[in-house]
């Protein structure tokens, strides 16, 4: 069957491939059901594993007795923490700043001594079928001594709060995110605060003294889940020679390998991780959960073992993002110039340290040039699932608070909220509160595009309707990345790269290779290598793949180009310096008779010196930060408190949009996750710390029926730090929505919503407390 792409339209910036919209290379497999995801592995002789999880939020494990389970027909093995080597609590650096505390990582995979949240694994079983494994779970007898749970950060920080980790110390820098334990000779009591640090710039008192208008507010947000549709699954074989093979879907096969090696106490080289397609991650598939469990069950039985989570297990046993308590104070002169900002961010890490409070603190004031600022941050453990990264980790909640205060300041100053941002907006040379100075960024361009967008000036009439706007900053990431590519004799290129493809990155990186070689995008065939076949590549995360792996593909293409030029020169018996590649044709610079198309030369390689393989391994600097602004119209039903999104427009600076359709897709998807976070989503815990809404029905993510079309406008201010000007695009679109919607609800009702979610009940409560405006906008 053939697939036809849209007619090729030349991209911006004079590019032939970059900026066009070819059909993604992996598209056919994904629309036909052929693509293999985490749970699609079936191996001969495979057993099915299930994990027994704690019913209590906080309890001591008194005993585990698996005899009844082991006697159940069809059950092959049961494991508990006794099978896990217990690594030290000393922080390990897995490279590129991926710090891990091996003990916490291990204990989150299988509890030791205590359970710290409902859903915490205490044992695992494998059997001939999933049903038998499930039956066996109920036959494992666990005796618990139930302890009082700590259910939010405010309670956890009280002097008399129950302590989750008896030996946890409070770090005073942001660099010990995974948390650490006190030295053996230190007998001080453990704390639930795993880190507490401050970023400061200028003179805060002076700044507030210069302000004519000051707004100070407190905000609370709840834990929300990434909500990827594919539950976690891992399949493992532990061979007799000690070699372990793991098939799983994740945001990084190397991260899965290295974390599993830490927990199992084996060298990383003993483990091969084969990446399968990933059914959504959003940051939530950067941590191991099932991989060591499947491996140990395989070791015990000598057979392949697959362990897959149910949806309830995903909610209760994998990372949501932090709930937070925030306090923000900002001041401005009567002319509208920001003079000072002060914020306190308290983020709930769940059962083990490591909330994203540091990136939240770094990003919350990023859009602004503020001479005097102070952000104080706390990372606090509570009896809830350990948080994992979630799209621009830490930034959305912090931006919700900061951008709500900015809206209020603009209102008090009687200024248009975009004009207020334009007056104070960060640009090249602006120093961030955390120290770095911005290179060329596109915030002001994004704001101007927002103001010029038809949505911003469209009439919006009717009671209880309002329009809100908010912006956001995310710094974007990079990291090591590898690519190898071989020229096939038919003139196409087979590309092997290391970044699992969550949202079209195969296409985005292959297009950058094609651009260098003058080939159509379809002539580069990308695939994603396992840990034994491709060089180390850091996670698909931090909006880094189009940037770093795109760069690796650019460099690997340059390597091919250099070798092919040398080959053409050898065939023609001329100097390589006299040969050029233009539009897919190798040319002698002065003799027009000497020319090969890429395909012609590719066909000659095997008889003129052998195949050509290009390679690159990079760790690029030059990341360009991302800015976005969103505009939203809402209508609030005063009878029910329900907020309907009437119209939504997302704008952002993508640097260069390599494949604009997938950049738009990121913007739309991020905006809608933000809409869910703003209006319905939350982890709802009962008084004992048990999640009450651990299903898609009760957690209630946005459906197609809840939403309008999501308009997008891509602003392109090329990143000077990348060969094609690429910035990251995936995360920034989830930063502005909550504040934009809160600001819109204010315009619709006259009520400032200071808690997320702004669910119907919360809005009704707020309307009841305040005298709402009856005439809207």
């Amino acid at each position: 069957m053939t697939i036809t792409a849209e007619p090729r339209v030349e991209g911006k910036g004079g590019y032939k491939v970059v900026g066009t919209r070819p059909i993604r290379h992996d598209g056919l497999e994904k629309v036909t059901g052929q693509a293999r995801y985490g749970a699609d592995v079936h191996l001969p002789g495979m057993l099915h594993g299930k994990v027994l999880r704690s019913p209590h939020a906080h309890a001591r494990i008194v005993s585990i007795d698996a005899r009844r389970a082991l006697a159940h027909p069809g059950v092959e093995a049961v494991i508990t923490s006794a099978e896990f080597p217990q690594p030290s609590g000393k922080v390990a650096d897995l490279g590129e700043g991926a710090m891990m505390n091996p003990k916490f990582l291990s204990n989150n995979t299988m509890a030791v001594g205590k359970v710290l949240y409902k859903g915490h694994p205490v044992a695992a079983v494998c059997a001939v079928s999933q049903h038998v494994a499930e039956e066996a779970l109920s036959l494992i007898d666990v005796e618990y001594e139930v302890l009082p749970p700590v259910l939010n950060a405010m309670d956890a920080m009280k002097d008399d709060a129950p302590v989750l980790h008896e030996r946890l110390f409070t770090a005073d820098t942001p660099f010990v995110r995974p948390g650490g334990l006190r030295d053996d000779d230190d007998s001080a009591k453990g704390s639930n605060v795993s880190s507490h640090f401050v970023f400061e710039i200028g003179d805060l008192d002076k700044g507030f003294a210069e302000a004519d208008v000051v707004v100070e507010r407190e905000y609370r947000t709840k834990a929300v889940h990434q909500g990827y549709i594919e539950p976690h699954a891992a399949t493992a074989t532990w061979n007799r020679d000690g070699r372990i093979t793991i098939w799983c879907s994740s945001q990084g096969q190397f991260a899965m390998r290295d974390q599993t090696a830490l927990v199992l106490g084996v060298p990383a080289s003993q483990i091969k991780v084969i990446p399968l397609e990933i059914g959504g991650g959003f940051g939530g598939k950067t941590l191991i959960y099932l991989e060591p469990v499947a491996a140990l069950l395989s070791k015990k039985t000598g057979r392949p073992v697959k362990v897959a989570m149910s949806r309830q297990e995903v909610f209760e046993g994998t990372g949501p993002t932090s709930g937070s308590f925030m306090k923000v104070k900002m001041g401005a002169t009567k002319e509208g110039r920001l003079t000072a900002a002060k914020a306190t961010l308290i983020y709930e890490a769940g059962a083990y340290p490591g909330s994203p409070v540091n990136p939240g603190a770094q990003c919350m004031l990023g859009p602004y040039d503020i001479p005097n600022g102070r952000v104080e941050a706390y990372d606090v453990v509570i009896n809830a699932p350990k948080v994992a990264a979630y799209r621009a980790p830490g930034a959305p909640a912090a931006a919700y608070a900061a951008e709500s205060v900015v809206d209020e300041l603009a209102e008090k100053l009687n200024m248009d909220p975009i004009d207020f941002r334009l007056l104070n907006g960060a640009k090249e040379g602006t120093r961030r509160i955390t120290g770095p100075v911005f290179p060329r960024i596109g915030y002001l361009e994004t704001l101007r595009a927002t103001k010029d967008h038809p949505h911003y000036s469209a009439p919006l009439e009717g009671a209880y309707r309002g329009r809100g706007v908010a912006s956001g900053f995310w710094f974007n990431g990079s990291g090591p990345s590898s690519a190898t590519a071989s020229v096939d004799h038919d003139g196409t290129v087979s590309l092997l790269e290391g970044s699992p493809d969550i949202g079209g990155t195969r296409a985005a990186v292959a297009m950058q290779m094609a651009e260098v070689l003058g080939l159509p995008a379809e002539d580069v065939h990308p695939s994603i290598g396992d840990t034994d076949s491709i060089g180390f590549t850091s996670n698909t995360g931090g909006s880094s793949v189009a940037f770093k792996t795109g760069w690796a593909c650019y460099e690997a293409a340059q390597d091919i180009k250099r070798q092919m030029i040398e080959r053409a020169a050898a065939i023609w018996d001329v100097s390589p310096g006299d040969v050029d590649l233009a539009d897919g044709v190798f040319l002698h610079k002065s003799d027009p008779e000497l020319r090969f198309t890429f395909k012609e030369l590719a066909g000659l390689l095997l008889e003129t010196g052998g195949p050509i393989v290009g390679r690159a391994a990079v760790d690029p600097r030059g990341v360009g930060g991302a800015f976005a602004a969103h505009v939203v119209d809402v209508e609030v039903d005063p009878e029910t408190g329900k907020t309907q999104i009437l119209r939504y427009t997302a704008l952002q600076d993508a640097g260069t949009a390599v494949h604009p359709s997938y950049v738009e897709g990121q913007m739309q998807g991020g905006a809608v996750q933000g809409i869910g976070w703003a209006l319905n989503e939350e982890y709802f815990f009962d008084d004992d710390g048990r999640m009450s809404n651990a299903s898609f029905l009760d957690y209630r993510m946005p459906t197609s029926l809840d939403l309008p079309m999501i308009d997008t406008e891509i602003v392109e201010v090329p990143n000077p730090g990348h060969p094609y000007g690429v910035r990251g695009t995936g995360e920034i679109p989830i930063v502005p929505p909550m504040a934009a919607i809160a600001n819109a609800i204010y315009k619709a009702t006259g009520v400032r919503m200071t808690q997320l979610p702004m669910s119907p009940g919360a809005v009704l409560d707020a309307l009841g407390r305040c005298e709402g405006k009856q005439d809207g906008g």
Binding site: G27, V31, T32, A39, I229, G281, A308, R311, M709
Partner: protein, 159 residues
Amino acid sequence: MSKKTHVTTNINGSDVEFLCESRQSLLEVLRDVLNMTGTKEGCNDGNCGACSVIVEGRLIDSCLMLAVETEGKSVTTIEGVASTDGLHPIQQAFLEHAALQCGICTPGFIVAAKALLEREPEVDEGRVRHWLAGNLCRCTGYDKIVRAVLDAGQRMKGG
């Protein structure tokens, strides 16, 4: 372990026989017994639509139907949507509109859209949004999916 039942059903136009336990869902049998893993599990409780299949012309969540109930019935899964001649217009529209990102929900959406458009190719945005409300996508925000389905409807009407 319980005794297995012999079931004969028609899947994607071919008669298929399998043995299953009475407690096994159609989803589980498709995936684990018949190795047809194109139908995905997202929640196993009827709330995400990733396992959408068509049974006797009706769109259902295969996680909510027991496999033994399909005796003598006809079932269409994602593996039966494309023909040997090429992709179904809905599949083609999904590719051209970039209506998928991670792709895990895509088979369910395509099957659900097929169930709609084969009866009702003349649909508007509201109808599509209402029909697809049982299928969750966390990546796209639905915009490009809705556009792809509307476009596919036009193509099917024309074809």
